[in-house]
């Protein structure tokens, strides 16, 4: 990480406009390199903060791939209030932006976190605000600060206050497996188990209302789709068809669930209206059709099909009989997920041979494919609601892990602190739980 930061600093100092000679990375609002930003540890007057809030902010901004936080040990001074800032100190370390903050305890024992963002070259305050919450919400406060900074600089909504679902499995000495569905912060912190089973759980899908999850459970020794309320744990079995019941996908307005059934002879995609329970057939082909993903218009569905011989990605419109093939590069493309602006399709891609499966991003306009990962047994990519980051499951050093990658491919980090073999991440939508 140090070397990368040094290179970035050098690049900035040389006023070089491209870090990667072989790729032209186009990011929104004309920002084409990671911005050096200094996030100074927040002061806490008369109290101790249970978390390093400034580090949470720093990591969030780094994860987006758009910011290059400067290491603390390079800081010349540690301002916590506007009057303490010496801009020369920040030009000296190459910072383009500066974030400072301080926390204090309110009479009702809540924490108040004041923060401010400065443009170093212009020596100007860009943003100053405060946010309050309980001690238990300190991580949420920090993520909120990161969201505000991200939005202020890029113009896009930050996705740092979002959540993640994922599955873990553990085998004991007798070979018995336990499967768990977890609910955590997007960065893997504060994971809670919301379902535990001795049979497989797969394909969790976060509802667009941010309150429910759909998933496949084998608790009846066959795959069936359930919907569960995340807060209350209340569950409802949604399907009970013979054969496959799988790959649930919520429509953007949450009124429908698309999924796969093989009841009519082979795996096809159907859409269920949750209110009326009316089932509509979406695909009609003897090949395997699976892994549906809705477009924002609530009518387009992307899916995986091996109708051409091997899995590739197609799209269709509800109610029409037309299907259009979307992927043509590589001998296996599956599990499509669209970025928020629908310009990028993220998927699992196999280039040649049969053993290497990588997360890839296809620019739908330019039809250019970019490999995002440096591992070779990747699965289940999920995209942040602002399209800036991807989390996927893969294997590293003999373990199943979750990796977070910025969509521009600059930053890649293993989500820490999760035990067992983890897989099947599912990103939440933007949540209205901001403090």
């Amino acid at each position: 990480m140090k070397l990368v930061l040094r290179l970035l600093l050098v690049a900035q100092l040389l006023l070089s406009s491209q870090l990667y000679a072989e790729e032209v990375l186009v990011i929104s609002r004309g920002v084409d390199r990671a911005m050096p930003i200094a996030v100074v540890p927040f002061a806490a007057s008369g109290m101790e903060l249970a978390e390093d809030a400034a580090m949470i902010v720093s990591n969030d901004l780094r994860n987006s791939g758009l910011f290059a936080p400067i290491e603390r040990k390079n800081f010349i001074s540690m301002p916590a209030f506007a009057e303490e800032i010496i801009f020369r100190d920040w030009r000296a370390v190459g910072a383009q932006y500066l974030v400072i903050g301080n926390a204090s305890r309110l009479p009702d024992q809540r924490i108040q976190l004041n923060y401010a963002l400065y443009n170093v070259a212009a020596q100007q305050q860009v943003l100053a605000a405060s946010t309050t919450g309980t001690d238990a919400q300190l991580r949420d406060l920090a993520h909120h600060v990161a969201d505000r900074i991200y939005q202020s600089i890029t113009g896009d909504r930050g996705a740092f206050s979002t959540r993640l679902l994922f599955v873990s499995s553990q085998r004991d000495e007798r070979g018995q497996s336990t499967y768990q569905l977890h609910h955590a912060d997007y960065d893997g912190a504060r994971a809670k188990t919301i379902l535990r089973s001795s049979e497989p759980i797969l394909s969790p899908a976060y509802g667009p209302d941010g309150k429910r999850v759909a998933y496949v459970s084998f608790e009846q020794k066959k795959p069936r789709i359930y919907i569960q309320d995340i807060a209350t744990g209340q569950r409802e079995q949604i399907t009970n068809f013979p054969g496959l019941n799988g790959a649930p996908a919520w429509s953007p307005d949450g009124s429908k669930l698309a999924f796969v059934l093989s009841k009519d002879g082979n795996p096809e995609i159907y859409a269920l209206d949750l209110a009326s329970r009316n089932l509509q057939r979406v695909t009609n082909h003897a090949a395997i059709d699976t892994e549906p993903f809705w477009g924002k218009d609530g009518k387009t569905i992307y899916f995986t099909s091996d109708r051409s011989g091997r899995p590739q990605i197609y799209k269709t419109t509800l109610g029409s009989q037309q299907t259009q093939r979307v992927t043509f590069v590589g001998n296996y493309n599956a599990n499509p997920k669209l970025s928020a602006d629908e310009k990028t399709l993220v998927m699992i891609h196999r280039q040649e041979g049969f053993t290497v499966f990588k997360v890839a991003a296809l620019d739908l306009e330019k039809e250019r494919l970019r490999i995002l990962s440096n591992t070779s047994l990747d699965e289940s990519p999920t995209v942040a609601p602002n399209g800036s980051m991807v989390i996927y499951a893969t294997r590293q050093q003999g373990k199943g892990v979750l990796i977070l990658s910025s969509l521009n491919g600059r930053v890649r980090t293993v989500l820490p602190g999760i035990s067992g073999e983890v897989r099947e991440p599912a990103w939440s939508p933007f949540l209205s739980n901001q403090p």
Binding site: P200, G246, N266, I288, P311, A334, G398
Partner: protein, 183 residues
């Protein structure tokens, strides 16, 4: 892997013996299935014309045949896992031999079985659920062709969720691409 090949090879030999045994009613024994534990009542290896021997010898050789048949059948019925090539749901020829035995057994017993389809870990989970089902359906279709009523057969896929061998190379993967016949 080597062991599996061995038992399949043995099964093939037994199958060949069965075929030969059924075709000839004259007490000929195939050298391949001579029972090494046979006492003085057993015929010698190499086969002889049964009419050239006495009644006692013919009875003993058909008993031997029966025992060989039963042993062969038991071996085939003991084979309840069928393996597949990568990305494939085609049954291997050696699988068909064992499935024939299962078909006969199922027709006769009327028992129900579950055909459980599996894949190795590579690729996406839901596609693998579908691929596992396709493999189990290949077994189901073959058994139905051999006369097993479809009501006796149930298909379930576990995709990559339930590997037989936990490992991340071809030696493990090849043992996970399978259909299991469960009673």
């Amino acid at each position: 892997m080597f062991k599996v090949h061995n038992s399949k090879f043995f099964a093939l030999l037994l199958a060949a013996a069965l075929v030969t045994g059924c075709a000839s009613k004259q007490g000929e024994t195939d050298s391949a299935v001579v029972d090494p534990n046979a006492g003085p009542l057993g015929t010698e290896a190499g086969g002889t014309d049964a009419y050239g021997t006495g009644y006692g010898q013919e009875f003993d050789s058909s008993l031997q045949q029966q025992q060989a048949e039963q042993a062969g059948q038991a071996a085939l019925l003991a084979t309840t896992t069928f393996y597949f090539e990568f990305d494939s749901s085609s049954l291997r020829p050696d699988a068909l031999v064992a499935l024939d035995a299962h078909a006969a057994d199922l027709i006769q017993s009327g028992r129900k079985v579950i055909l459980e389809g599996h894949t190795d870990e590579r690729g996406t989970r839901e596609y693998n659920m579908a691929l596992g089902e396709r493999r189990a359906q290949a077994v189901q279709r073959y058994l139905i062709l051999q006369g097993v009523p479809s009501s006796q057969l149930e298909v379930v896929s576990y995709g990559e969720e339930s590997p037989s061998v936990v490992g991340h190379d071809e030696s493990a993967w090849s043992l996970n691409r399978r259909v299991e016949l469960r009673k």
